[in-house]
Symmetry: C2
Subunit: 430 residues, 2 copies
C-alpha cells in the first residue's frame, strides 16, 4: 500500500484527470449505494467506529504531520486546536458514528400514496441524492461526520478539506474506506481529494454530470468562492446575524435568560445572537437589567442613541454594527418603536438564519413566526437551539439559508430526495 | 396609460436597469405576498378569470400583432398555432385559473411539530419561495398558467416569454396586474419583462439577490442556455427519453395497450415513449403483436438485430437511436436478455424522466420501482401519466429531472419551502 505522501504526489501530476476519475468512481458507487440495505450500511458504520479506535496510532501519527507543518507555518493556537485529533475528538467521532447508526434510514420510505380516480396508485419514494461534494476547512473530524451521514443516506461523498489537514483527512479516509471494503461496499463511496490547491476546488465545482450537490462549510470567504464558481447546486449559509426582539409584553427574567444564553453560551457560532432589539415601551426598565448581565459577562454593547441614553456603558453603534456577525462578546442593541419596526430591521439586516422574539402576546408571537423570513423563527427560546441535533434531526450536515431544497439545519432527510412511483393494473391515458 | 408599444420602447432604452428595477419590485411584492390570506389570493384569481373574458377583445387585438409579425417572419403553421390565443385557449386559461382557486393553499401549513426533551415545540411551516423567474418560448398561455400558480403559492413571478409572443404576453400581464391592483395586491407580483433580446435573459439569470428560482420551459437549446448561464438555482428537464420494459411475465394485451398509449396518444411530449425494451424470452411472441399495432398506427420501428429478425418491417437501429427523443411516431425497440440488462440500458440512455415496466412478477416490479433512477417510475401503467394533473398535484408548473428540491412534476408545493418554527417557554441551551 502506498504511503499518504505517495498518494499526494501521484495526484499532483494530473489533478484534473484524477478529480474526474474520483468523481466518476463516486457516481458509479452511488448507483450501488442507493439499494444497500440499512443493515449493511449500519454494519459499515459500526466497523468504522471500531476502526477509529484500533487505528488511533496511525491517525495520530498522520495528524502529527499536519500539526508539525502548522506549527512551522505559524498557525494560531486556535487553528492548531481545530486541527488536533485529540483523544477527545476521536471519541466524539466514534460517538457520532454510533449515533448515525441509531438514526432511522430515510431511504426507501414511501409516503403520500394516493389512489387516483383511474385506479393507479401514486406515491413518493425517498431516494439518495447521489454524489455529495463537501468542501470544508480545518477540522478533520468533518471528514468522518459528513461521510457517516452521506453513507447512511445512501450517497457517495467526495471530500475536499483544507490543505492544513490533508494528512489527517487522508488517514481518516483510508480507515473509513477499509471498513467499506470489509463490509463489501464500494470504497469509492468515500473519497478525500488529495490535492491542496484551490484550482482543484474550481475544477470539482464544474463536474455537474458527476456531482449532485455541493455543501461548503467554513468561513464566508470560502463559501462565497464556492457559490460563485459552482455549476452544481450549493446548499450553504454565509453567516448568521441573529436577532432577539424583546417586545413590550416580555417577561424580563425570561428575556434576560434568553438574551444571555443566545449571546454568551458560545459566541463564536452562527446561531449566536448579534443584535438585540428592544421595544421602546420597556427600554428604560429592561435595558438596565440586561446591561448589568451583559457587563458581568464581559460583553461589549454597541447601542443606538436611545440605548446609550439608558446605558452609559454602551458605545455608540455605527451603521456597520447593524447586520455585523461579531462572533465575539459584542452585542449591538437597538430600541425600536414597535413590532413592525423590529420586523423591518430584521428584513434589512438579518441573514435568514435564526430570529427570536420574547413576548407574552399571543398575537405578536404568531405574527413574528409567520412573517419573519428566516430558516428558524422562535418564540421565547434561545437562538442557540437552531441546530440539527437540538431540533431532533439527529445530526447535522450543515445549515442552509437559501430556500431551495432545504432551509435551516440539514439532517439525513435533506441528503435525500423523492421520486414518484406508480402501481398500475394496465391503465392508459385517455 | 401607455400603449404596449410605448412600454417596449421605454424598456429598450436601458434594459438592465429596468430588469433590475422589475426584479427588486418583485422582491418587495413577494415580502407582502407571503402573508396574504388565501381568500385574497383566490379573489384575485377569480377576478382574473372574469377579466380574461371581459378583456378578450384587447387580448386578441394584441395577439393579432404577434400573429401578423409571425406570418411576416414566415413562422410555421404549428408555431402560429401555438401563438394563437383562440377562444379555446382563452377558455382553457380561464378554467385553469378556476382550478387553481380550488386547490388548497400550501402556505402556512405546519407539520412535523414535535416536543423536544427540554419542552420546546419544533415544527416546520410552509412558506413561499419568494420570486420565481419563468423563461419560456412561444405559448402565451404559460403567462397566465404560471402566474396563477405562483400567486396561489404566495410568490412573485417575473415572466420572460418568447419575442414572437411579446404583445400577447404584455397584454395578458396587464389584465392580470389590473386584477391584482383591484384586489389590493401589489401589481409587481406579476410582471412580464418587455425586452426581447437574449441579453435580457442573461442579465436576469445573474440577479441572484432578487430571484430565488428559475424555471425554464421550452426546447433543449433554451434550457441548456439557461442552465449554463444562471447564477440562480434552476429547476428543469432537458428532455424525456422514456422506456417501457416488457418483461417475460408480462400480459401481452396489457403490454400492447401500455406501449401504444405511451407512444401514440401524444407523441410530441416529454412523457411519451421513445424506446421499448423486450425480454428475449417473449420477443418472438410479443414483437409481432406490438409490431402490428404500431404499424397500423403509422409508427416507424427502429430495431436492434434481434427485433429486425422477428419484425421484417423494422429498420435497423443505429447507436444514435438509443437515447433519442424522437417526439414523433418513431420507436426504438431492443431485445434484452433480462431485467438487469434493461436496467443497465436505462442507466445508460435514460433521461431520468419516466420509466415503466410491464410485468406480472412481484419481485421484478418492486425491484424496478426501487432501482430505476428516474423522477417517475411505473409498474403496469402508461408513461403518459407522468404529469402533475394525473398525479393529483392539481396543476403543474414544470417537470424537474434534477434531484435538488423537486424531482418529477412540480405543483404548488414545489413552489414553496419550509422554515423551522419553535414555540418555547423561556428555554435556553445548557
Amino acid at each position: 500500500m502506498s504511503t499518504i505522501e505517495e498518494t499526494i504526489k501521484k495526484m499532483a501530476i494530473d489533478a484534473k484527470k484524477a478529480a474526474r476519475k474520483m468523481s466518476s468512481d463516486a457516481k458509479k458507487a452511488a448507483r450501488k449505494m442507493s439499494s444497500l440495505s440499512t443493515e449493511k450500511k449500519n454494519s459499515a458504520l459500526l466497523r468504522m467506529a471500531d476502526a477509529l479506535l484500533e487505528q488511533k496510532e496511525f491517525i495520530r501519527s498522520e495528524n502529527e504531520k499536519d500539526l508539525a507543518a502548522g506549527r512551522k507555518k505559524g498557525l494560531s493556537n486556535a487553528m492548531l486546536d481545530r486541527l488536533n485529533l485529540s483523544d477527545k475528538v476521536i471519541s466524539s467521532m466514534i460517538n457520532g458514528l454510533r449515533e448515525v447508526v441509531a438514526l432511522p434510514d430515510p431511504v426507501g420510505e414511501v409516503a403520500e400514496m394516493v389512489k387516483r380516480p383511474n385506479g393507479i396508485m401514486v406515491g413518493r419514494m425517498r431516494i439518495p441524492l447521489g454524489v455529495i461534494g463537501m468542501i470544508y476547512e480545518s477540522r478533520p473530524n468533518v471528514t468522518v461526520d459528513a461521510a457517516a451521514l452521506c453513507l447512511k443516506a445512501g450517497n457517495s461523498i467526495l471530500l475536499r478539506g483544507g490543505s492544513e489537514a490533508i494528512f489527517s483527512n487522508l488517514a481518516l479516509a483510508r480507515v473509513l474506506q477499509d471498513c467499506l471494503a470489509a463490509a463489501d461496499i464500494d470504497a469509492a463511496a468515500i473519497q478525500v481529494i488529495p490535492v491542496t490547491d484551490r484550482s482543484a476546488v474550481t475544477y470539482m465545482l464544474g463536474l455537474e454530470e458527476q456531482i449532485d450537490l455541493i455543501i461548503p462549510r467554513g468561513g464566508e470567504g470560502l463559501i462565497r468562492f464556492v457559490a460563485e464558481n459552482s455549476r452544481i447546486p450549493v446548499l450553504k449559509h454565509y453567516k448568521g446575524v441573529c436577532h432577539v426582539f424583546v417586545d413590550d409584553t416580555a417577561d424580563y427574567d425570561m428575556a434576560v435568560n434568553i438574551v444571555m444564553n443566545s449571546k454568551v453560551q458560545r459566541p463564536g457560532v452562527c446561531n449566536a445572537l448579534e443584535t438585540l432589539l428592544v421595544h421602546e415601551k420597556v427600554a428604560s426598565d429592561f435595558l438596565p437589567k440586561i446591561g448589568a448581565a451583559l457587563a458581568s459577562a464581559g460583553v461589549e454593547i454597541r447601542g443606538c442613541e436611545k440605548t446609550c441614553a439608558v446605558l452609559p456603558v454602551a458605545r455608540q453603534a455605527v451603521e456597520a454594527d447593524w447586520g455585523m456577525e461579531f462572533l465575539d462578546l459584542i452585542l449591538a442593541v437597538k430600541v425600536v418603536p414597535d413590532l413592525d419596526a423590529a420586523l423591518q430591521h430584521i428584513v434589512r439586516y438579518g441573514s435568514q438564519h435564526t430570529e427570536a422574539i420574547v413576548t407574552n402576546s399571543y398575537a405578536n408571537g404568531q405574527r413574528f413566526l409567520r412573517e419573519v423570513d428566516a430558516s428558524a423563527v422562535m418564540v421565547n427560546a434561545s437562538t442557540r437551539f437552531s441546530d440539527g441535533g437540538q431540533f431532533g434531526l439527529g445530526a447535522e450536515i450543515g445549515i442552509s439559508t437559501t430556500k431551495l431544497h432545504a432551509y435551516g439545519p440539514m439532517g439525513l432527510k435533506e441528503l435525500t430526495t423523492r421520486k414518484f412511483i406508480v402501481y398500475g393494473e394496465g391503465q392508459v391515458r385517455s
